[in-house]
Symmetry: C2
Subunit: 433 residues, 2 copies
Amino acid sequence: MMRTRPLKVALLGCGVVGSEVARIMTTHAEDLAQRIGAPVELAGVAVRRPDRVRAGIAPELVTTDAAALVAREDVDVVVEVIGGIEPARSLITSAFQHGASVVTANKALLAEDGATLHEAAEKHAADLFYEAAVAAAIPLVRPLRESLAGDTVNRVLGIVNGTTNFILDRMDSTGAGYAEALDEATALGYAEADPTADVEGFDAAAKAAILAGIAFHTRVRLDDVHREGLTEVSAADIASARRMGCTVKLLAICERAADGRSVTARVHPAMIPLSHPLASVREAYNAVFVESEAAGQLMFYGPGAGGSPTASAVLGDLVAACRNKLNGAKGPGESAYTQLPVSPMGEVVTRYHISLDVADKPGVLAQVATVFAEHGVSIDTVRQKGKEGAHDGAWLVVVTHRAADAALSATVEALRGLDTVRGVASIMRVEGE
Amino acid sequence: MMRTRPLKVALLGCGVVGSEVARIMTTHAEDLAQRIGAPVELAGVAVRRPDRVRAGIAPELVTTDAAALVAREDVDVVVEVIGGIEPARSLITSAFQHGASVVTANKALLAEDGATLHEAAEKHAADLFYEAAVAAAIPLVRPLRESLAGDTVNRVLGIVNGTTNFILDRMDSTGAGYAEALDEATALGYAEADPTADVEGFDAAAKAAILAGIAFHTRVRLDDVHREGLTEVSAADIASARRMGCTVKLLAICERAADGRSVTARVHPAMIPLSHPLASVREAYNAVFVESEAAGQLMFYGPGAGGSPTASAVLGDLVAACRNKLNGAKGPGESAYTQLPVSPMGEVVTRYHISLDVADKPGVLAQVATVFAEHGVSIDTVRQKGKEGAHDGAWLVVVTHRAADAALSATVEALRGLDTVRGVASIMRVEGE
């Protein structure tokens, strides 16, 4: 039954993920051959620093000429784990032109310019698989692309960045501030030396763009995703969340509008009730809820990063791409037929938790309540308390009912204009209720 | 781009699931056409009682002759939601012989004789998809068959039967006994009039057989699965679990042996710590953990039954089968190359919680402890307490370290032979630690 000529894989990048992919391809060669129906082997490994020792990879496979590697006629599948926009995009496009299918973990490129990749794959009747681009080994791309292909997804909501979840988990459990928790994350290897992509929400926003595109069968780019990182989240915000029976998580939320005619995608810190399953997602784990018409609410949970989990996702895609190559078949391509537009953040409807630093005088609450009412934002609860050690100040904590983000912004702007409001200490959305 | 000749689907069965499949095929026809690349429509609907009114299904599509329907030349995909062994098996086999692919939700048939179905599919180069057979819309079959195809799964552990989870959840939250909780489940529609398949664990065991077969790339049949239902679980067991910081769940557990040379599959009630994510799975929800070498621990959660969720899974498979038909492709077939044998329950290694009714005399604990030691079963904790209102009896509650099931059975047999042991009130395995 089994073909003897092996399928050939070009591996672009041999860092944490790439070296693990190469290792498993060697140690589990027989299993992979059985599952694919033919042996699979490395055609070459493109790296930047060829002098670095790479255990288990034959030195003659290592090359610095990635462009030549992807252009080789005998390459069936290209695995791209370099990351970044260029040269990844050019290499992937070239791979398709030369007849290969592509497996990539490159969330930044997919979110920036997925259309170019999908179009190249389509044109050359090749597979473009990218399970590893979102939440590592947690199956999300395939379930959305295939398992729910007969259903209508209305919402994807989850924790898709392990670094920020680790930081928030530490802030919540130890009372530490953001800077201190970030230091710990860095020391433990959960945060990179330059943590910008994680803490500013770029990584999560790229994943949100990918998930929204698949879930709603439209195109969503990184620029379409409203993004707020967690650098502004304070120990006081976390403590305030606790008092509400909530915790703070950095959430990626993709929603279809109630009328079905547009979608939104956003990444920001939000309070969620402690009773919500996402509240108990600890350390660097990821978890994503998918809500659809027929299936109802599904949750997927697991390690969202790391060399081994990401390699697992890459290898699952590699097996599928190889099987298709062998059988002259092709997996699902891009599905963007709905062409639903992405609405701006102002149209997102959710709840808000707002802390105001106010003068401790009669009539302040009435003034504040009037401003909310004038902007059509309905108040759910208000809590007033005097400041410790202060003689003439107080905190006013307002939680609203559901309102449009634009209305809330206008409300806050107006509140800032009140004489009695000294400052808006924090504004945080409340989700998961 | 789109082909105009529609793909034709034969629907076998039009009960809760079948009618929902037909409904969504109608209401979402345009979406399905876009996702498949061609329109898809019903060729016919085979039912037992044609006189029953079926909203939204054209009367001329309804037939009682399922055999003739699956043999029609124009049928591309057969959806089987009749259930049971026959006539489902003959109809599916005939469908393959006549060139159709098959989507089925039939866990009983797959667990009883999946090999026959897989071989027929293979012979006729057709797809056999069955996501709906396990945990309804929760993607498990596809993730195991495809997403983890490059990984090595070591364990699948979860709650795969909603009826029994509902019953145990009620017993745990209200203190009700089994009979009372079953009555409530029946009244609310969570249990069938004859609840045997659920409460005796047959349904969960069929799902365990299917999951174990896919996870370990071998064949596992219903008869290979050790099965204990929950009819013997008492309110006292639940209370005892609570005292240990545990709750009781009916678990399906599929494991690869430590040496990798065999597998086990079992369904039985077990105590799990309240801190374990499965402990918080409420009502009729399902949740499954999958542990693999590279991906680590993944969890999948959602509604495990019901017409809509099951229809969602059927339709996802239907889209995939239709796409493949259109492109002359085929999804993954059976993967049973490891041929790993299924070991008997005696070889399963786990922990145990045993309640003994003993005489309240000095030396009883020493006697009991000696019996455990003689059988190589190491004790973790022992709790002794006098019976309320009794003058000469006591309870001895023993929790063991990990031991082979056969050694535990021999221990219990020997304990029963002791003069000082009046009875073994309960034996329950402890999982998830």
